[in-house]
């Protein structure tokens, strides 16, 4: 039943970084797969180093393995050399823990974190010997399911999955396993099993819906074909994070991973309300964890992992309403024992810099701020509540505290953007640099400041106020990049930019529908994989794949859709109401900002009444939620 371990070990002698393909990492859970009722394989469609850095995977691994009737194992996309060697020697996709072929599992759960990992999903199914399309799988095949942020518009990959979970998994995974067990006990047919799963709140079974298209290529309607299928499918959200398990053990890899540290999730959700940001819409409402719970979790995780760093994770950790207490508590406890504390996401203000100063002490590698747009007008359009003064104050505080390098994140191609806004980026960067020179001179150092401007391209995302907006054509984005390259020259300035081709593909799939599944299959056949890895992206092959499958990628990436259009994800709900998204989209056009509800007043995005949840801010109540 196991794969040929001798053959595998031989390959491991010759591939790059073999430590990522072996079992036995500290805290990995080893059960006997033949002694449990349900075998679940968590599959991450990117490298081990990327997948193991993902908190959601750790949480589900922990929760599933807490059950005696489940053995949950892990698998990742083998890197290019390993993939080729496995194909060559006939070694199928296998689990790390038991070296069991993926096919031998009952449930395969893919984590869909970004669109550019879709070809890896197909490559992994191919390596596993599992038919790619749900309709082609039979009683002997595992149930192939998925979750993660791409689940909010999974339509391009919908034909490949038997079921897709919308929203948070802590409670839902157990319900899925239970339904699976029941279906098997009662010897239900595959279709009956899928219908049973569709009755689990939050579970979307794509095969139970049909999509009709209009002559002009737009969607006519999306409708369920079974009474078991909800319309819309409502996302899952945990009411109180304190009531669901958070791992007190993390697997400690043999090989270094990207986030090789304790990830302590301080809260979930973000309601700043940036209008381009999908995370800020789909993870609502904000739910903070209790301070004491966090301290206790940190203590247990340090003991169980031996990690030397605790990272306070969330979409914007300085927002945690008791962040000062948390940071000082952790520092007091650990600074003497060589365990550091870090804050990966900073707001643009001096409060955040103060916090960073407290935790980073001497290791001043660089601070990152995200003003996102170059002018106040455009920042109001996108609802980024940051002013020029906020930014200059923050960087002044940073340089004064001894930082020398500052990174600024901007987006180009945002709705309504003009050349003024690009000039605004250049001006802001220069002002920040001047501010750095002044502060460093004042501090009496001879070092000179370094300002890196990192520019990404706007990608419209489902369930955001900008979901109707097109992405700017690639040529236009390139011109904008050239403008910045031309104007952001000189000592102390550096420019980093994203490849427009990968941003284009991201836009195609983020607003894509089921017709793109064929293009994905073509692309995979043509050898596309690891598209998120700059050096691996084969854009010419992608163009060929689109041509062969007769879909026009520009229809998805570059056309404006109207409020009346049926959107590919209209049957899926992230809880935020459509009315709110339309209202936000109109306010964007008028340049009117919308406040953050965590400051005390509900702005009626709809998620709380819809899901019967409420924001949980330790320091203050939020009023007007109904």
């Amino acid at each position: 039943m196991q794969i040929d371990s001798r053959l595998l070990d031989e390959i491991l002698e010759v591939v790059e970084r073999p430590a990522r393909y072996v079992n036995g990492e500290w805290n990995a859970v080893h059960k006997r797969p033949d002694e449990v009722d349900v075998r679940v394989l968590l599959a991450f469609p990117d490298t081990y180093e990327v997948g193991m850095s993902h908190l959601g995977l750790k949480i589900l691994y922990y929760i599933l393995n807490q059950r005696d009737d489940v053995a949950c194992e892990r698998t990742f996309m083998p890197w290019v050399d390993m993939h080729a060697a496995m194909k060559d020697k006939g070694i199928p996709l296998y689990s790390l823990e038991s070296r069991l072929p993926a096919r031998e599992f009952d449930i395969l759960g893919f984590s869909l974190q970004y669109e550019l990992s879709y070809t890896n999903v197909l490559a992994m199914l191919d390596l596993a010997g599992i038919p790619a399309r749900s309709e082609a799988r039979g009683a002997d095949d595992p149930l192939v399911i998925a979750g993660g942020p791409c689940a909010y518009n999974p339509e391009p990959v919908a034909p490949f999955f038997d079921a897709i979970l919308l929203g948070e998994g802590e409670e839902a995974v157990g319900e899925i396993v239970d339904e699976y067990k029941r279906a098997r006990r009662e010897s239900l047919s595959r279709r009956e099993m899928l219908e049973a799963l569709a009755r689990v709140p939050g579970v979307y079974v794509p095969s139970l819906y049909e999509v009709e298209y209009r002559e002009d290529g737009k969607i006519a309607r999306i409708f369920p074909t079974s009474p078991a299928a909800a319309y819309p499918v409502q996302k899952r959200a945990v009411r109180d994070l304190g009531t669901v398990p958070f791992p007190d053990k993390f697997v400690v890899p043999f090989a270094e991973i990207i986030h090789d540290r304790i990830m302590l999730e301080v809260f979930r959700g973000c309601t700043h309300g940036c209008r381009f940001c999908q995370a800020g819409m789909v993870y609502r409402p904000v739910r903070e964890r209790d301070l004491d719970d966090l301290c206790e979790l940190a203590r247990r995780l340090v003991t169980s992992t031996g990690y030397e760093e605790i990272s306070l994770m969330s979409l914007s950790s300085a927002d945690y309403s008791r962040i000062r207490e948390l940071v000082s508590n952790l520092l007091q406890r650990y600074s003497g024992s060589g365990v550091a504390v870090s804050l990966p996401s900073l707001r643009v203000d001096s409060f955040s810099v103060d916090l960073a100063k407290e935790v980073e002490k001497g290791r001043k590698t660089g601070l990152t701020f995200a003003p996102e747009a170059g002018t106040q007008r455009l920042r109001d359009v996108i609802n980024k509540g940051v002013t020029r003064n906020d930014l200059l104050e923050a960087v002044r505080a940073a340089f004064a505290a001894g930082w020398q390098a500052v990174k600024l994140y901007f987006m180009i191609g945002l709705p309504t953007e003009t050349e003024d806004d690009l000039a605004g980026i250049v001006n802001l960067a220069r002002e920040v640099l001047a501010c750095g020179r002044e502060e460093l001179r004042r501090a009496g150092t001879t070092r000179s400041p370094q300002v890196t401007v990192s520019v990404s391209s706007f990608v419209p995302k489902a369930h955001t106020p900008f979901q109707w907006h097109p992405q700017a054509p690639m040529e236009e984005l390139l011109e904008k990049q050239d403008y910045l390259k031309h104007h952001l020259r000189g000592r102390g300035l550096k420019l980093a930019w994203h490849d427009v081709k990968s941003s284009f593909l991201e836009a195609v799939f983020s607003r894509g529908d089921r017709r793109l599944a064929a293009a994905l299959e073509e692309a995979t056949t043509l050898g596309c994989r690891f598209d998120a890895w700059h050096e691996e992206l084969r854009f010419d092959k992608w163009q060929e794949a689109f041509a062969r499958s007769r879909v026009d990628p520009k229809f998805y990436a570059n056309t404006h859709w109207s409020y009346d259009d049926v959107l590919p994800w209209d049957h899926l709900s992230a809880g935020v109401s459509r009315d709110y998204l339309v209202a936000e989209s109109r306010r964007a056009a008028e340049g009117v900002p919308t406040p953050d509800c965590r400051l005390g007043k509900c702005v009626k995005c709809g998620v709380c009444p819809q899901l019967k949840v409420a924001p949980r801010i330790l320091a203050r109540p939020v009023e007007g939620v109904s």
Binding site: P18, G24, A255, E256, G336
Partner: protein, 242 residues
């Protein structure tokens, strides 16, 4: 004892010298991975480790010379500086149960501070190289002949490519002994070679040289290599370090 109670880095009082295996899955760790793994195990064991000074303190430890990725070991040595002088049993008990598979605690000693460092002591290391049986096709004599040829040679030029460029050097004076081991059908070579900062031999270089001279093609299955022991030099003889 309260775990992780705030404490000053403190002056080291003792050094704990531990001997670990690096076998099975652990053999695929790079040297940096291995250092991190030991640091983390030491933290899990809650040993009273002395920390380095500075903004980013970490445990004060030193390691025996790096092992190539894929090579196993029964004798990785680590010196850990401690703020207190715990008993050997205490160290062994705590560390023994927090090591990942493949990293087994073989032995440990607690030494007073101020003794010679690992790198100043280590002179040689021994390895066992097992050649895959199907490559030799039951003919240990080809390996034996290769060994004899190696020992007779005046010079064995080896080129090593590093990020700094390609370097040529003579392997021969750094090889102290090569012996064929026969038994239960396997064909193995025992080798004693220079190790440490004054001259260091990579066992895979020697194994490759033997394979080449034995006429094993580049497609042959790689040999299994195990580091067996580190040696110091005392009274003109090599003696096991720990």
């Amino acid at each position: 004892m309260e775990r992780n109670a705030p404490s000053s880095p403190g002056k080291p009082q003792a050094t704990c010298r531990i001997r670990l295996t690096k076998t099975g899955p652990a053999r695929f760790m790079s040297h940096l991975d291995f250092i991190r793994a030991v640091e983390r195990a030491v933290r899990r064991a809650d040993l009273p480790v002395a920390l380095t000074e500075g903004f980013h303190p970490h445990p004060r430890m030193s390691f025996s010379p790096a092992l190539p990725v894929g090579v196993e070991s029964e004798c990785e040595l680590v010196d850990v500086d401690l703020r207190e002088s715990p008993s050997v049993d205490e160290v062994a008990r705590r560390l023994g149960c927090v090591l990942p598979p493949g990293m087994r605690l073989v032995s440990c000693v607690v030494l007073p501070r101020g003794g010679p460092s690992l790198s100043s002591m280590i002179r040689a290391a021994s390895y066992q190289v097992d050649f895959a049986r199907d490559n030799i096709a039951g003919r240990p004599d080809v390996i034996e002949a290769a060994i004899e040829g190696l020992l007779r040679a005046d010079a064995i030029p080896i080129s090593r490519t590093t990020p700094k460029g390609t370097r040529e050097f003579n392997l021969r004076p750094l090889i102290y002994d090569l012996r064929l081991l026969r038994g239960n059908g396997a064909v193995s070579v025992h080798m004693l070679v220079a190790a440490g900062p004054r001259g260091h031999v990579r066992p895979d270089d020697v194994a490759r040289e033997i394979a080449r001279r034995a006429g094993l093609g580049p497609g042959a299955r790689p040999a299994r290599i195990v580091r067996k022991e580190f040696y110091v030099e005392r009274d003109g003889r090599f003696r096991p370090l720990l």
